[in-house]
């Protein structure tokens, strides 16, 4: 495909900017730790609730962190109307979309990978036997979140007075993803039957595919003025 190189170029630029500032990753990392600490005050220590709500806290932390990461990633294209600069380049909108999704998935997933072990320690989780399906859930959840988030952050970045749009759209629309991810994570951690987990995972995959196709098709309308 002839735009592969351009996808790579955009991705490379985003990684370069990230390596330069280490903004997104470090801050998301610390942020998700902070979220975990804050959420702890919701519960009495050592209580049952705490153990059962670990998957919820985990995903809410990831969702918040991703939201911030996404808005940062698009804010970068805004400073000097850089998105217009991208639009001046002879590149398909779909290539821009793919590159942006790839970058966002990469950053968010990295953060999750680093945060997860810390969470495992903090909540005394036993992920030994289920680490593989857990990783799958993580990737699937991230993919869905980043896909929708990429489109929405483009909308919210492009249309001025609708700056609010990212969280307004992102959270309600991704509630299904977050829920499916929470459910399968908690089933996995509770050692439930794989078939039960699988029903949620299937849902997650379905959401991912639908969102990706729809977003891919809609993206070009979103980035243009």
């Amino acid at each position: 495909m002839n735009s592969l190189q351009q996808i790579y170029t955009i991705l490379h630029k985003d990684i370069l900017l990230e390596l330069r500032s280490k903004d997104i990753i470090t801050t998301m990392l610390i942020f998700s730790l902070t979220v975990v600490v804050i959420f702890n005050f919701v519960f009495e220590p050592g209580s049952e609730e705490m153990a059962t709500s670990a998957p919820g806290i985990l995903w809410v932390a990831f969702a918040f962190a991703s939201n911030l990461g996404l808005s940062r990633s698009f804010a970068r294209e805004q400073e000097n109307s850089n998105m217009q600069g991208l639009l001046l380049c002879p590149v398909d909108r779909s290539a821009v979309f793919t590159a942006k999704v790839a970058g966002n998935v990469l950053f968010i997933f990295l953060v999750e990978l680093i945060t997860l072990p810390v969470m495992v320690l903090f909540f005394d989780l036993h992920i030994g036997p289920v680490w593989l399906p857990l990783l799958g859930t993580l990737i699937l959840g991230t993919l869905g979140f980043a896909t929708v988030g990429t489109v929405f952050s483009a909308i919210s970045a492009n249309t001025r007075s609708r700056e609010v749009m990212l969280p307004i759209m992102l959270f309600p629309v991704t509630v299904p993803i977050i829920l499916a991810a929470i459910k399968s994570t908690s089933y996995l951690l509770a050692g439930r039957d794989m078939s039960q987990v699988w029903s949620w995972l299937r849902l997650l995959i379905a959401f991912d595919v639908i969102y990706f196709v729809v977003c891919f098709l809609l993206y070009e309308y979103v980035v243009e003025e």
Binding site: Q5, K13, N82, Q84, G85, L88, E225
Partner: protein, 228 residues
Amino acid sequence: MIRAQKIGKSFGPLRALSDVNFEISQGELIALLGANGAGKTTLIRILAALTRPSTGTAEVAGYELNREQQQVRKRIGVVSHQTLLYGEMSAQENLYFYGRMFRVPDLQSRIDELLGLMELKKRRHDLVRTFSRGMQQRLSLARAVLHQPNVLLLDEPFTGLDIHAEELLTRFIEKAVADQVTVLMTVHDLDYARDHAQRLLVLHKGRLAIDAAAAQTTRAQIVELIRE
């Protein structure tokens, strides 16, 4: 190389452009003039495919603007009111990024050449956000011409440039025109436009009021249009 047909643009109730028609052939240097708010930037943005016209069509560099945007984009270089540069990347990195996006062959030497031309070589590794206004404008010019476009759309390209850079840019444009590049640029300096441009387009409240060679219009005519 550029043909605008019945171009109109409304922002809600406000008509920024109405029924603009003109043609520019290859290798022409055209100045787009007009009062503040006359619609110059809007027109340039439409020709650069950054905004869709409300009505009308245009052809740029031999391609239809609406249907063959990619082909158009490959062939145009745009300087706009914003610099379109990444503040957290260095001058060199910005050019490198845009160069790759445009698949510029032999990119590194092209970057060296342009940084040399704009006299930014010493600052090539500094972050763009630390640049002064004029330095950013210079880099923005370098960015626009990186891929050797056939058509240059320049919206107030002299903004913030010191007199030395102004001369550099003038010479650059002259050379480009000699190489058959088509240039459409907005300027506020009437005398500059009359001295350098082969033809003047003057917008007046969104309509094309004058489309004539410099010799065929008087300065007073244009001034009057700008004064309303």
